[in-house]
């Protein structure tokens, strides 16, 4: 009797969490992108953005399970690390092609709303964002896989 009520409660909890997550995941991801993009003008940036996005996925994996969350990715999160590193690196190297030294900031002439000037720094930040997501998810998902 006790046991069944506890099970029911757990199921109920899971349902609430899952329903919430279904809405929260896209919201949080959008929020993380927002934080990432406005980072140059207001508080935010690649690190924070990446962390928020990771938390969104972690929440999802809590509500369902890791396998289900991994299905949301078309590539394993581990691959995000090299992709992010490459983006950061390429954006650092871009100025070299334009005759400037490594990591010099280069911008497009026109500003964009929210983001401000679009330049190498933004792409660099995007790279950081991806690396952070990759790192956090790799660590957490590898663990929860082995724990289960």
């Amino acid at each position: 009797m006790m046991k069944s009520s506890r099970n029911r409660k757990r199921k109920l909890d899971a349902t609430i969490l899952r329903t919430a997550t279904n809405y929260l995941l896209p919201l949080l991801l959008m929020f993380s992108l927002f934080v990432l993009l406005r980072g140059h003008y207001l508080s935010g940036g690649g690190f924070v953005g990446g962390l928020i996005a990771s938390i969104a996925f972690v929440l999802h994996s809590f509500a369902y399970n890791t396998k289900r969350t991994l299905r949301l990715f078309s590539i394993p999160p581990l691959m995000l690390i090299p992709i992010g590193l490459v983006i950061s690196f390429v954006s650092s190297f871009l100025p070299v092609l334009l005759g400037e030294s490594f990591l010099t900031g280069v911008w497009f002439a026109d500003s964009v709303a929210v983001i401000g000037s679009v330049g190498t720094a933004l792409f660099f930040d995007i790279g950081v964002y991806l690396v952070v997501i990759g790192v956090v998810l790799t660590i957490l998902f590898t663990i929860s896989e082995t724990v289960q």
């Binding site: 980072g39 140059h40 938390i55 590898t142």
Partner: protein, 771 residues
């Protein structure tokens, strides 16, 4: 000279590649190398004929440190150069036959050549640091030569002893060089000659000469460092002949001789040399006659001869310097002969025990004549070069103005010579006379390669003894002038007329013969000496080495207890002591709260929550609660960041804190609660340590807070964030633009951590799959 030494080294290593060649009979060609060097030095001998000029060749090595590859040719270096290359030539010839068929002959020749190059470097260097480098190279190459028979434990041990003792001295030579360099500003020995007064008046003079003495005494096997030399007799005989009688051990004498014009003439200088040299020569000579092993006798008589040289340098008069120059040559000639003959005997009979070997005269007539000449030269019989040396030595003693000195020193010299004469007879006469024991088997008869070097050496002994002017004009005179610093003619004579020194010479021969007769009959003499072994420096030093090893063991055991927490505790306590001391002794502590802001209630609440969480984390017995409490601390800090204008930090801290806690829980929620490991006492101790550490950090923070800080960097970033980087969030601009490179590397570090975790866990899975 640089090219020559360089070529020698190159050739040394080239020999290693000629493994098969050295086993052919053409290997004798290798002795052309020392021979051509010998000729080269002979040419220089004519160039420095008058004895005053010295030629210096300079090439830079490390000019910024004043280290250059300078080489100087004066009487002293040419004398040694000739000895090294001349005896070297003979030893090469000898060694080729002595070690014929030995599978590692190429290695042996390589070491020998290396040694020769290094030794030539020592005697010609005109730069202290270069001198030191070559000095160490001789130690290293002699290590390999002594330990050549490396399958024998004794050999290895002896090599180790020789190397540690001479290496110990080398360290002092380097210290000496550096001190001299810092006093005078130059490492050039030629330039030091003019700075002699500066060095002598320096407050470090005593220190300087003690360092120099330690270097020279260890190398030249002076008491109490002498014991490595008898041990070094484990080396193949050509090595003993070359390194341990004629050349390397004389490097110490060379060093003292080289610095006599610069540092000599002071009371401490002379008395130390007199004392140590005197003790060594008496000790060595006395010991030598008790030995039964031919090489043992030679080892101790060599120690004694080196003592004589040091002693003469200590007397430091004009005659003494002449005696040094002559005795170096005389000793090298007869002692090398002794060694080479000993090698032949050893080779022939596989024994070196003089108590059993008799009557070799019948088997090896030529050899017995050769060794007889050497023994006579050693004893100082007229018409040998040894006679001239011995006369000069006695004259040195007798010419001293102070009567007491003259008697004491001459007495010591007489004593030494008596026993040296006896030991020379023990080697040169005892094994060759009497009837040959028919039961003894002759394994090898000496071939020409073995015989010729000994014959050459003996011939020279006689030639120089009969016609001393032959060698006097160039060699002895220029050596003397290099030693004494001025040219004073003192022709060498074979016959001085009947005077006190001749009387003393005769005396030493007669008494020496008496001692010889006594000891040649006494077969058990070695046992007497063994009784004193307990007091020998070797035993004493071994004792200290062993004690030091035990100490090191205990020390390691104490500090490397293998408990992480005790390592940490030691580090932290040390840190507290060091920083605390500095803080309270040097920094004026002030508490100035005027510039600080007051806190509001909600800030106090956050603070209190953090403190409570910390205390809870320490005290709880459940892992999960401890982790949760740590998380709470993180959130409180996050709030503090938000309060004080750091929204970026607040967000990041929040996210990281959440993720860390999740991670912790994921991994650890299955673990049992904490075990109570520590007892109460330990907890209190750790609490004291940690609280004092925390207090210290808090005080430092407070001090830093009230000290004015330099805000230039912050201002630069703040002012230029928009102008240069088109960003308005300065923190983010710093991260992705101003210090973008750091961030790039940070992401790489994170990636490495992730890959570490990934591989660690996946690896485990694979392992489990295999199970």
């Amino acid at each position: 000279m640089l090219t020559l030494i360089f070529l020698t080294f190159v050739l040394a290593f080239a020999i290693l590649l000629l493994k098969d060649f050295v086993q052919t009979k053409f290997v004798a060609l290798i002795s052309l190398l020392p021979f051509s060097i010998f000729v080269y030095f002979l040419i220089y001998l004519t160039k420095i004929k008058d004895g005053v000029t010295s030629l210096v060749y300079t090439s830079d090595w490390v000019p910024s440190l004043g280290i250059s590859l300078d080489f100087k040719f004066d009487g002293l270096s040419v004398l040694f150069g000739l000895l090294i290359s001349g005896i070297g030539t003979l030893v090469y010839l000898y060694a080729i036959s002595y070690l014929r068929g030995h599978p590692l002959l190429h290695r042996f020749l390589c070491y020998l050549t290396l040694f020769m190059g290094a030794m030539l470097g020592v005697v010609t260097s005109d730069n202290l640091i270069t001198l030191f480098v070559f000095w160490e190279l001789t130690s290293i190459s002699s290590f390999f030569l002594i330990g050549f028979n490396n399958e024998e434990e004794e050999s290895r041990k002896s090599a180790m002893w020789a190397f540690s003792i001479t290496g110990f001295g080398g360290f002092f030579l380097l210290s000496f060089a550096i001190i001299v360099g810092s006093i005078t500003g130059t490492y050039s020995i030629s330039e030091l000659l003019s700075q002699s007064d500066l060095l002598k008046e320096s407050p470090y003079y005593i220190l300087l000469i003690s360092f120099l003495f330690i270097a020279a005494f260890t190398k030249s096997a002076q008491f109490p460092f002498h014991f490595w030399l008898p041990g070094a007799m484990k080396a193949p005989t050509p090595v003993s002949a070359y390194l341990h009688s004629a050349t390397m051990v004389k490097a110490g004498v060379f060093l003292i001789a080289r610095f006599t014009p610069i540092l000599g003439g002071e009371v401490y200088w002379n008395n130390t040399l007199l004392l140590v040299g005197g003790a060594t020569m008496v000790f060595g000579a006395f010991h030598s006659v008790f030995r039964k092993d031919m090489k043992g006798i030679l080892a101790y008589s060599t120690i004694s001869a080196l003592g004589v040289l040091m002693f003469l340098l200590g007397i430091g008069t004009k005659t003494a310097m002449y005696a040094v120059a002559v005795f170096i040559v005389a000793h090298a000639l007869y002692k090398a002969t002794f060694f080479l003959v000993t090698g032949i005997v050893d080779h022939a009979l596989h024994s070196r025990d003089i108590s059993t070997i008799r009557g070799l005269r019948h088997q090896f007539p030529i050899l017995s004549i050769v060794v007889m000449v050497a023994a006579l030269s050693c004893a100082g019989i007229p018409f040998t070069f040894g006679f001239i040396g011995k006369e000069l030595i006695y004259e040195t003693g007798l010419l001293l103005t102070n009567q007491v000195y003259a008697y004491v020193l001459t007495g010591a010299l007489l004593f030494t010579n008596v026993f040296l004469t006896a030991s020379g007879f023990l080697i040169g006469i005892k094994p060759f006379f009497g009837s040959f024991d028919k039961l003894k088997r002759i394994y090898h008869r000496p071939d020409l390669y073995l015989l010729v070097p000994t014959i050459v050496l003996s011939l020279l002994t006689i030639v120089f003894g009969v016609f001393p002017l032959f060698i006097y004009n160039e060699l002895i005179l220029s050596t003397f002038s290099a030693l004494y610093g001025a040219v004073v003619e003192l022709p060498l004579k074979i016959w001085h007329g009947i005077n006190t020194s001749l009387l003393l010479s005769g005396c030493s021969i007669v008494l020496g013969t008496v001692v010889y007769v006594i000891f040649s009959k006494w077969n058990n003499s070695l046992a007497v000496m063994d009784r004193f072994n307990q007091l020998s420096p070797k035993v004493i030093i071994s004792f200290f080495v062993e004690k030091f090893r035990q100490f090191a063991y205990r020390y390691t055991f104490m500090f490397h207890s293998s408990y992480l927490r005790s390592y940490l505790a030691v580090i932290i306590v040390f840190f507290i002591g060091l920083v605390g001391y500095k803080l309270f002794s040097d920094v004026p502590l002030r508490v100035n709260t005027t510039g600080l802001s007051a806190f509001r209630v909600y800030e106090l609440v956050v603070f209190l929550i953090a403190v409570i969480a910390v205390i809870f984390a320490i005290n709880t017995s459940s892992r999960l609660s401890a982790i949760a409490a740590t998380g709470v601390v993180g959130y409180c800090i996050c709030l503090i960041f938000v309060f004080y204008g750091a929204p970026d930090l607040g967000m990041t801290q929040f996210a990281i804190d959440t993720l860390t806690t999740v991670l912790f829980v994921l991994v650890l929620f299955k673990l049992p609660p904490f075990l109570r490991f520590s007892d109460r006492k330990l907890q209190i101790r750790d609490a004291i340590i940690s609280i004092s550490f925390g207090t210290l950090i808090a005080i430092i923070t407070l001090q830093a807070l009230v000290s004015p800080a330099d805000k230039d960097i912050s201002r630069f970033y703040a002012d230029n964030a928009y102008v240069l980087a088109k960003g308005k969030n300065v923190v983010n601009v710093i991260l992705v633009d101003f210090r973008g490179f750091d961030t790039l590397i940070e992401t790489i570090v994170l990636s490495i951590a992730a890959m570490g975790v990934f591989s660690m866990l996946k690896y485990k899975d694979d392992e489990e799959l295999e199970k």
